[in-house]
């Protein structure tokens, strides 16, 4: 049997506009305003600034800035440590912004209110991406400046390569955040994010070089997407053989690490979509 497509005639009645009504709702303006609102609303929360921007640089100053030494092919250990703490900072930002904040806004009912408006859900997500990009840039600049001041010297193109590797790579953890934001209970999300991300950072060698960690940690690391992110970041600064010494692992192919990140992105993406639909289903029930 051939199914007839249902013909929907849009016969909404005339609008009853107020005399002062103005045309609005251009998608570009919507996106721009949403991004502006996200950024200015978080910029004004000092705790958020401290937690995301200040803590990574503090950790670097405490544990990385005084580390000396140069690896055989000339890579500075301090530069690699700086990259580690920068990597910690931007992934932390992505997980907490996409995870913790979405969970909180879901809990408050802000998402429910938005759902009752004509705004497409992706505009909301673009706002979050803008926030992560801007604050991620801030984190990197602050950590890089601290690196520079404590004696890290790199070529301009190396700084740039490290910067973009860090920023783009961190966005691949957005879906992990989304999954957390929609699956965790709103009040628990931040705690869960910490429980997941602190061990992940440790085992991936963001806090201490992997060559200083116990062997079982070194064996575990290659199964974590954050470790592969770290590999890409360290390799943007040091030579393959130096990075291999630093991590006590063969450095491997960049493509392999990128595939790990993409795989993680997609796996958590599936979880995030599941979480989003489950949340929506619960609301609609």
């Amino acid at each position: 049997m051939i199914q007839q497509p249902e013909i929907v005639i849009s016969n909404l009645p005339e609008r009853r506009l107020s005399p002062t009504a103005q045309k609005s709702g251009h998608i570009a303006a919507m996106v721009l305003e949403q991004m502006k609102a996200e950024v200015s609303s978080y910029w004004r929360v000092p705790e958020f600034l401290v937690g995301t921007v200040i803590i990574p640089v503090l950790l670097f100053l405490m544990f990385g800035a005084s580390v000396g030494g140069v690896l055989p092919q000339g890579t500075s250990v301090k530069a690699l440590m700086m990259a580690s703490f920068a990597a910690y900072g931007v992934v932390n930002l992505a997980i907490f912004t996409f995870g913790g904040d979405i969970a909180a806004e879901r809990g408050q009912g802000w998402l429910r209110l938005m759902r009752a408006t004509p705004i497409p859900p992706w505009v909301y997500l673009i706002g979050k991406f803008a926030l992560v990009t801007l604050f991620g840039t801030a984190i990197l600049l602050v950590v890089f400046v601290a690196g520079l001041l404590s004696g890290v010297r790199l070529g301009l193109e190396v700084w740039a390569k490290a910067f973009f590797t860090l920023l783009l790579g961190s966005l691949s953890f957005s879906t992990l955040g989304f999954a957390l934001g929609f699956l965790a209970r709103p009040r628990a999300a931040s705690t869960i994010a910490n429980l997941v991300f602190l061990p992940l950072s440790f085992v991936s060698g963001f806090f201490f070089p992997l060559n200083q960690l116990p062997q079982f940690v070194q064996h575990l690391a290659p199964y974590l997407p954050t470790y592969h992110f770290g590999q890409l970041v360290w390799s943007s600064i040091g030579t393959a053989s130096d990075v291999a010494r630093f991590t006590a692992q063969p450095t491997g192919d960049a493509l392999g690490h990128v595939l790990w990140l993409l795989g993680g992105f997609m796996l958590f993406g599936v979880l995030a979509v599941y979480g989003y639909q489950r949340d929506r289903g619960q609301e609609m029930r």
Binding site: S10, N11, L12, P13, R15, R16, L17, S18, T20, A21, Q22, K23, S24, G25, A29, M30, E33, Q34, A37, S40, S41, Y42, R44, V45, E105, G107, Q108, G109, W110, R112, L113, M114, R115, A116, T117, P118, I119, E283, M284, R285
Partner: protein, 290 residues
């Protein structure tokens, strides 16, 4: 064309039947009130009309279409119970942001004036009092110049004076020819603004009529006192809808208790232990269904 049409809508939450067989239609320009005690199904019904909840049975149409369609959402404004908004934005920023979401918008200045928030335009949301917050939600509900707005128990955190002022603002917006559906459990609120009242009780439409018709069924005030006046005599007094005796007290239901009391005192009846209270709707509806 009807603005809202519900046909045999029902909603179950597990064992609980939140709505059963609710049918109603709302014409353009109507101001309709959902009146009922807590748990009557008002919020569920509004959620279904907004397309935020799926009904277990029946059909919902807004402007003849599915409430979830973007064209419908573009002409509907809403004030939900307990909707958080970003705390670190100012009132004005939030109103401007919300205006962008809709195909048409009212000037921010006008919205702030209509919601009486001009003085708070630069205040952060977290600095607003409960009543100001409710007015902000009202502002968000009208900024898209919607043809239809839903207000779910909008005055719940307000004192009497704030409530009066709030309904004044709603009336101003209704005067633009807008359709409004609000819910409340204050009987006196339906009187001041609604053109039609639907009484919901335990998920069903108990009564539907003009505010005057509903008020004759359920008087707004309950007067309780000790006196020698009989129930039969009291029933004949002006302004008395109904009288009964309960635990030795005379209980009088009235929309104008002052008229009744004035006469009572003038005639020199002995009066003791007098209280005047808003009628408990739950109790009133139980009596109506009995």
């Amino acid at each position: 064309m009807k603005v809202i049409e519900l046909h045999n809508v029902s909603k179950r939450y597990g064992e609980v039947q939140a709505l059963s067989d609710v049918s109603l239609s709302v014409e353009p320009g109507e101001v309709m009130a959902f009146l009922g005690p807590n748990g009557a199904g008002k919020t569920t019904a509004i959620g279904i009309m907004l397309g935020l909840k799926t009904p277990s049975g029946g059909t919902v149409r807004l402007f003849g279409q599915n409430p979830e369609s973007p064209q419908v959402r573009g002409r509907v404004g809403v004030m939900l119970q307990e909707s958080g908004v970003p705390e670190s934005l100012t009132t004005e920023e939030l109103v401007r942001l919300f205006g962008c979401y809709y195909p048409y918008t009212l000037p921010v200045e006008e919205v702030l004036r209509r919601a009486d928030l001009l003085e708070k335009r630069r205040a952060f949301v977290r600095q607003l009092s409960g009543g100001q917050r409710q007015r902000l939600y009202f502002a968000l509900s009208i900024v898209g110049d919607p043809d239809l707005i839903f207000l779910d128990e909008p005055t719940v955190a307000m004192d009497v004076e704030a409530r009066r002022a709030f309904w004044e603002q709603v009336r101003g917006f209704a005067a633009l020819g807008k359709t409004i559906l609000f819910s409340t459990h204050y009987l006196e609120e339906v009187d001041s603004i609604a053109s039609r009242v639907v009484v919901l009780h335990q998920g069903q439409v108990l009564k539907s009529g003009t505010p005057a018709e509903i008020k004759s069924l359920v008087a707004a005030k309950t007067v309780r006192l000790k006196t020698e006046l009989s129930v039969t005599a009291a029933s004949q007094y002006p302004g008395v809808e109904r009288a009964e005796r309960e635990n030795g007290h005379l209980v009088v239901y009235s929309n104008t208790p002052e008229v009744f009391l004035e006469r009572l005192f003038r005639e020199g009846h002995a009066v003791a232990d007098l209280t005047v209270k808003d009628t408990d709707l739950e109790a009133a509806f139980v009596r109506l269904t009995a």
